[in-house]
């Protein structure tokens, strides 16, 4: 740990910049030493760090060894994801409107459509309203499909998991306003580029994105017409945590700092700062005076929040809850928080601290899959590199299990622990989903890629009356519920 810490400290001294960091400027990570590799351990790491093991990803980790595979996951090849997907999956993404047209153009066009009918009577201009809703629906489905295809096929599985994690951390609800048209861009430009990058960049990009401005109402927050919604959730859910040491007066100060950040959907900029709506008075945030001077106040406030020790702990704990255990060991969280602070919120550094920890190794196989992990791991196992025939049933299955993409209504994001997903009703539903997948596969799914299948499961599998029933039982087994 000592070496990590020193290295991280050097990095901290070297780079406190708040400029957007491209992946190219990311600091190198010390290679992970993983001396005692074994096939079982590789499979366990793969099941935790990816959306689920299959033959090709298992071949990758077996070829590289766990240490080098983790290094590669932490620093995936730079540039676009596109070169790394199978041709069919990439072709499907390329054909999408969200790939072909700039978001500013899409947003401006939709906004003009909306304005044409917004003041008409409810039953007037039905065709226009319907066309508008259909456009939103199609764009929202494209975003979900793209997310699923990348999660199923990208070799950079940690990047995919972290993109989902941050989308969930900075959660938005696609059914509010025109958000279905914006979630694809929110993910692509605000979240994905920094999924393994800097927390501060995530914070700045999400704060300015129209998806967040709409979702938490900051688009309506202006001087003398304060709306506290985003200010509160920014501290409670995105940075400090509810016990992170802020008060109601901090919420009010931050809300004033945030005044004037609003939308420009029709004008092509998507969002911008409107000085005339800003409260130019001085504010006191977390004991620090922020001089009222306009747009620059936002970055000053986000710097304070991103570098606050409560944020380092809160974010580290959430990462460890996602990748280690429902109740992550306090000592590990503390070490991650130290790395977080020392590296100025370099997410890959924090995850490196997690991966090299004995706590991580001891935890493998012990996380209960949430529905997203469950559905994706089943499909990855079944499909491997073969194309997904239709994303719609998967989108439906996630909704039925209570975890649809971009659709958590409340800003807390989906919960990450077993108690939230293993209730009697949820398990019964999960077996229905298992059957839906199992009966589409005409041959037995091999059980070698399901970690440590025990005797009870083997005995039950032996009673399967058909390959499909075998598949149902395997995908319903207690072992397959764990990652």
């Amino acid at each position: 740990m000592r070496r990590d810490f020193t290295l991280a400290l050097l990095l901290f001294i070297g780079g406190c910049a708040t400029q957007p960091q491209t992946p190219a400027s990311r600091a190198p990570l010390a290679p992970i030493a993983w001396p005692d590799d074994s096939p079982a351990l590789e499979l366990a790491v793969l099941n935790r760090v990816s959306w689920g093991a299959n033959r090709s990803s298992y071949a990758d980790i077996a070829r590289l060894g766990t240490g080098r595979w983790l290094d590669a996951q932490l620093r995936p090849p730079q540039g676009e994801v596109r070169a790394r997907l199978p041709a069919e999956a990439q072709a499907a993404i390329d054909a999408m409107t969200i790939s072909q047209r700039p978001i500013a153009e899409i947003a401006a066009e939709l906004e003009q459509q909306r304005r044409a009918f917004q003041n008409a009577a409810a039953d007037d201009r039905k065709a226009e309203r319907q066309a508008y809703q259909e456009s939103l629906g199609r764009l929202g489905r494209e975003a979900q499909t793209r997310m699923l295809l990348r999660a199923l096929y990208s070799p950079n599985q940690l990047e995919e998991q972290m993109t989902w994690f941050w989308m969930n951390h900075f959660s938005v609800f696609q059914f509010k306003g025109p958000l279905r048209a914006l979630v694809a861009d929110y993910e692509e430009r605000a979240v994905r580029p920094q999924a393994l990058g800097r927390f501060r960049e995530l914070l700045g990009a999400t704060a300015r994105h129209p998806a967040m401005l709409i979702y938490l109402d900051n688009a309506r927050n202006s001087a003398g017409r304060i709306n506290e919604n985003y200010a509160r959730e920014l501290m409670e859910l995105h940075t400090l945590g509810v016990d992170g040491g802020y008060t109601q007066s901090d919420v009010e100060a931050l809300a004033r700092i945030l005044t004037g950040w609003s939308l420009d959907l029709a004008g092509g900029e998507l969002s911008r700062f409107y000085p005339r709506r800003h409260d130019f008075g001085d504010k006191v945030l977390l004991g620090r005076t922020i001089r009222g001077r306009g747009a620059a106040e936002l970055d000053e406030a986000l710097d304070i929040l991103a570098r606050h020790p409560s944020t380092a702990r809160f974010v580290s704990r959430k990462l460890a809850t996602f990748l280690v255990a429902d109740e992550p060991p306090a000592a590990l969280v503390e070490r991650m928080a130290q790395t977080f602070s020392a590296s100025d919120g370099d997410i890959a550094q924090v995850l490196r601290t997690l991966f090299v920890s004995p706590e991580f190794r001891a935890s493998l196989g012990g996380k209960f899959k949430d529905p997203q992990h469950y559905a994706l791991s089943a499909l990855r196992l079944v499909l491997d590199q073969r194309p997904l025939p239709d994303a719609q049933p998967v989108i439906g299955a996630l909704a039925r299990m209570g975890e649809p993409l971009y659709a958590r209504a409340t800003p807390d994001g989906y919960p990450l622990t077993r108690t939230d997903w293993a209730s009697p009703g949820q398990l019964a539903t999960r077996f229905e989903i298992a059957r839906g997948i199992a009966y589409r596969v005409p041959v037995r799914i091999p059980m070698e890629l399901v970690a440590s299948v025990g005797d009870a499961t083997r005995e039950t599998l032996a009673k399967a009356a058909s390959p499909q029933e075998w598949n149902l039982l395997l995908l319903s087994s207690p072992e397959f519920m764990q990652r």
Partner: protein, 385 residues
């Protein structure tokens, strides 16, 4: 499955202070949680307060639009055909200035606090108060009509759950269900898996064809009325303790007044509860429904014709045997100087004391039993039942 109904009824019989319910028909209790912090001040309108009208220039419910309940209070007109008739019949009461001591004004923190039902300083996620109530009543008969098991129902006692808007006929047959249950025998999910299959079967039995017809391919949320009727059918049967939550109350922007966003939600909720009362039939007289929310909202409207997170709220208490038709509990005159932190309704009727009082009457629980449900919060009897 008989165990549930049996244990609950035998326990309820043992009580002495129980006022409802013939010995053969133990009381039923449904908790309705409005998630998001509904704007209680526009639901139960303080019509005699000029300060209310000053504080809400664009969203107030006008005096002549509110349904007068007494000299000080009026009901939102969206409830004219649902809650108002129940209130007039004496089957509904309202408890203003209700809530929790939690001052975080966080939805999630406060919802958890309430559902845990423990002293704030010593919260543990090991159990929620509804789960402890199940245990105090001897176990069994409890169901949550939600996809997730809510914090209120978490704990040692086994509780079923089913999301009524997505459930349909099962494609996993009886033999396969048994095989799956076999794999889980002796694991830490064994009880949940068996309970899941059992609840699935009883829901299908109780709801039958109506369910299957209505739920085919339905994954989106349906109106609460449809759900409420289903809840009534299930609570006629083996389930006596229920929980359901409804979202969509976080009205920061464009809340509306007599009509609009909040009015629509209230109308839907009222219609659902009215349908529930009707569908319970004679059992409505042994049924208690309590509607709660994590907090009220700011007394003054915000800059966007909405309201932000506040503190005190209004609870609804409904049931055929309720001594209703009144606005009850500790109260204050609504004016600027009685606001909490010059911002919100204060809390004068702490939720644990109020609910504890209701449970004591409903099930004849003694002080020690109530203390197991709500440790450290002596019951407050509002004489509602």
């Amino acid at each position: 499955m008989k165990r549930r109904a049996f244990i609950l009824s035998s326990l309820a019989l043992a009580g002495s202070g129980r006022l409802f319910a013939a010995p053969s028909a133990p009381a039923r209790f449904l908790l309705v949680f409005l998630r998001g912090g509904y704007d209680a001040a526009n639901f139960l309108v303080p019509t005699s307060s000029s300060f209310y009208y000053e504080s809400r220039p664009t969203i107030a419910v006008p005096r002549d639009a509110a349904l007068a309940l007494d000299a000080d209070w009026g009901l939102h007109p969206a409830l004219a055909e649902s809650l108002h008739p129940l209130y007039t019949k004496g089957e509904a009461a309202l408890v203003p200035f209700a809530g929790t001591e939690d001052l975080s004004r966080s939805h999630f923190e406060t919802q958890d606090s309430i559902e845990l039902g423990q002293p704030l300083a010593a919260r543990s996620y090991a159990s929620g108060f509804m789960n402890r109530l199940v245990a105090a009543l001897g176990g069994g008969g409890a169901i949550s009509f939600t996809n997730q098991l809510p914090v209120a129902f978490r704990g040692e006692a086994q509780v079923a759950n089913v999301a009524l808007n997505t459930v349909g006929r099962s494609s996993v047959d009886a033999r396969q269900s048994a095989l799956i249950a076999e794999m889980y025998k002796g694991t830490n999910l064994g009880a949940q898996v068996s309970e899941g299959f059992a609840a699935r079967d009883s829901v299908m039995r109780d709801l039958g064809d109506e369910m299957v017809a209505a739920s085919r391919n339905a994954v989106t949320a349906r109106g609460f009325e449809v759900q409420a009727k289903r809840i009534a059918r299930l609570m006629h049967g083996e389930y006596r303790l229920g929980f359901v939550d409804i979202g969509g109350w976080d009205t920061h922007v464009g809340e509306g007044g007599t009509t609009g966003q909040l009015a629509t939600r209230l109308e839907e909720l009222g219609r659902g509860l009215g349908a529930f009362a009707e569908a319970m039939g004679p059992a409505w007289h042994e049924t208690l429904v309590v509607v709660i929310s994590e907090f009220g909202r700011t007394f003054r409207e915000n800059g966007n014709r909405g309201t932000d997170h506040g503190h005190g709220t209004v609870y609804w208490v409904l049931g055929g045997g309720v001594r209703g038709g009144r606005v009850t509990g500790e109260q204050l005159r609504v004016s600027r100087d009685t606001l909490f932190q010059d911002r919100d309704y204060p809390v004068l009727n702490e939720y644990r004391a109020v609910l504890g009082g209701l449970f004591a009457r409903l099930y004849g629980l003694d002080a020690a039993q109530v203390a197991r449900v709500f440790p450290g919060a002596p019951a407050k009897d509002l004489s509602l039942i």
